[in-house]
């Protein structure tokens, strides 16, 4: 896996400081530095960083949303704040690093943000159960037949069967007994609902 971090900041002291702190994290295989705002877009297109730490004065609200669009919203952006900025503008960033923050605090922010992004990746919508599939699952593990489910949800048995097929495909579980374990595990039903 190659994770690239881009640090865009004009102050060399701050840039190098951030470099050192993030380098020691051992999560980024490469860390790029940018000292002036010009060409930030090109650098991002070229290196496809998985995270950007940027001085808010390098861009503006519109520029930020352009960068987000450019990376399909998959690149979290952290603001380095040591001057006064409009709160509404700063609120658009995924997180904020202050110059006074400790090394631990900065690292925690970065790893948490990175984890959140990776989790979003894993939970592709096609793997999560739709709300209709959840309805079917709930009734199914409570012991309802396809016919009963179809009556209760006002859908055809054919649709019930097709929901069941999708549930099985997404979860890799076929039997009702196995689905019951899954439902309890994910608090879709409670133990009292079965037995």
């Amino acid at each position: 896996m190659s994770e690239t971090l881009l640090i865009a900041e004009q102050s060399e002291i701050i840039r190098k400081g951030l470099f050192q702190i993030t380098h020691d994290l051992n999560v980024f295989s490469s860390i790029k530095e940018l000292a002036c705002p010009s060409g930030i877009k090109d650098v991002i297109i070229r290196y496809k960083p998985s995270m950007l730490i940027v001085n808010p004065s390098f861009i503006n609200a519109q520029g930020l949303s352009e960068l987000k669009e450019l990376t399909n919203g998959e690149m979290p952006v952290i603001a380095i704040v040591y001057a006064l900025f409009d709160d509404d503008y700063i609120g658009l960033f995924d997180d904020v690093v202050m110059v006074g923050d400790t090394r631990q605090k900065i690292r925690k922010k970065i790893t948490e943000l990175l984890n959140k992004t990776l989790e979003k990746d894993n939970r592709k919508p096609e793997d999560a159960l739709s709300s209709r599939e959840l309805d079917v699952l709930k009734l199914l593990v409570r012991g309802n037949s396809n016919k009963e489910i179809s009556d209760k949800l006002f859908i055809s048995t054919h649709t019930v069967i097709s929901h069941r097929k999708n549930i099985t495909q997404k979860l890799n579980i076929k039997s009702v007994a196995g689905l019951t374990v899954y439902a309890i595990l994910n608090q879709i039903i409670s133990m009292d609902d079965v037995s």
Binding site: L171, K174, S175, M191
Partner: protein
């Protein structure tokens, strides 16, 4: 895994070295470890095992694509039944109790309401496996034995047994489905819970059991059923 075709000259040790599944297979013929450099032929003579039968069973068990073909005609049905009963005994006395013990340990380690339900599901599965084994031991095998006896001596009478081996074939699917669900739950859905080693052991054992059952079912499908069909034809 490269599949090996075993011949009369193959050394027993070489078979085990190359395919660990032979470890559980040999005891079913009464062959114990400490095999030295003995070949299949030697050991079969020592132990009074029909060499052709041994070769047929080992090759069907170890190789997915091995077709016994013409070798079936000469096969001793009683020996086959004894082998199958031995495998069932191994499941009942060795595999299943160990799996139960591992589930119990997993339950102790993972304190979650879903664990109780997993145990219930597992026990349901075990009950089904046991029912399946009991069905074969008490219904299918005695039927085959009586059938073979009748063909041999035309003494035994099975005309009052209302049974046909065709029923036998449909019964393996459910068991495999539940096992696959158990695996998916442990591999994909239970969150980590300070249970790493016990979960690995449990999965290892489940998958081992699964593979053994599949190979066992293959012997029943490719060896037992064709033989019984031949016997049924002879009787008419």
């Amino acid at each position: 895994m490269t599949e090996i075709i075993v011949s009369a000259k193959t050394k027993l040790a070489d078979i085990i070295m190359q395919d660990k599944r032979a470890l559980v297979l040999f005891p079913r013929f009464g062959i114990e470890l400490g095999v030295g450099n003995r070949s299949v032929k030697q050991e079969c003579i020592n132990k009074g095992i029909d060499t052709d039968f041994f070769l047929l069973m080992v090759n069907v068990f170890l190789n997915k694509n091995y077709f016994p073909g013409g070798k079936l005609k000469k096969l001793d049905v009683d020996m086959l039944l004894r082998y199958l009963e031995n495998s069932h005994q191994y499941y009942l006395e060795e595999k299943i109790p160990y799996l139960e013990q591992l589930i119990e340990e997993f339950k102790k380690r993972v304190d979650h309401p879903a664990t109780k339900q997993l145990e219930r599901f597992f026990m349901q599965y075990i009950t089904e496996v046991k029912e399946h084994l009991a069905y074969e031991d008490q219904t299918a095998f005695p039927y085959v034995a009586a059938l073979s006896e009748q063909v041999k001596s035309s003494k035994a009478d099975i005309s009052d047994i209302d049974y046909h081996i065709g029923v036998f074939e449909e019964r393996h699917d459910n068991i495999e489905e539940k096992l696959s669900d158990l695996k998916a739950l442990l591999i994909q859905h239970f969150p980590p819970h300070n249970d790493r080693y016990i979960r690995i052991r449990l999965l290892n054992e489940l998958m081992d059991f699964e593979e053994d059952l599949i190979n066992h079912a293959r012997i029943e499908d490719k060896v037992l059923i064709p033989i019984v069909e031949q016997l049924e034809k002879k009787i008419g």
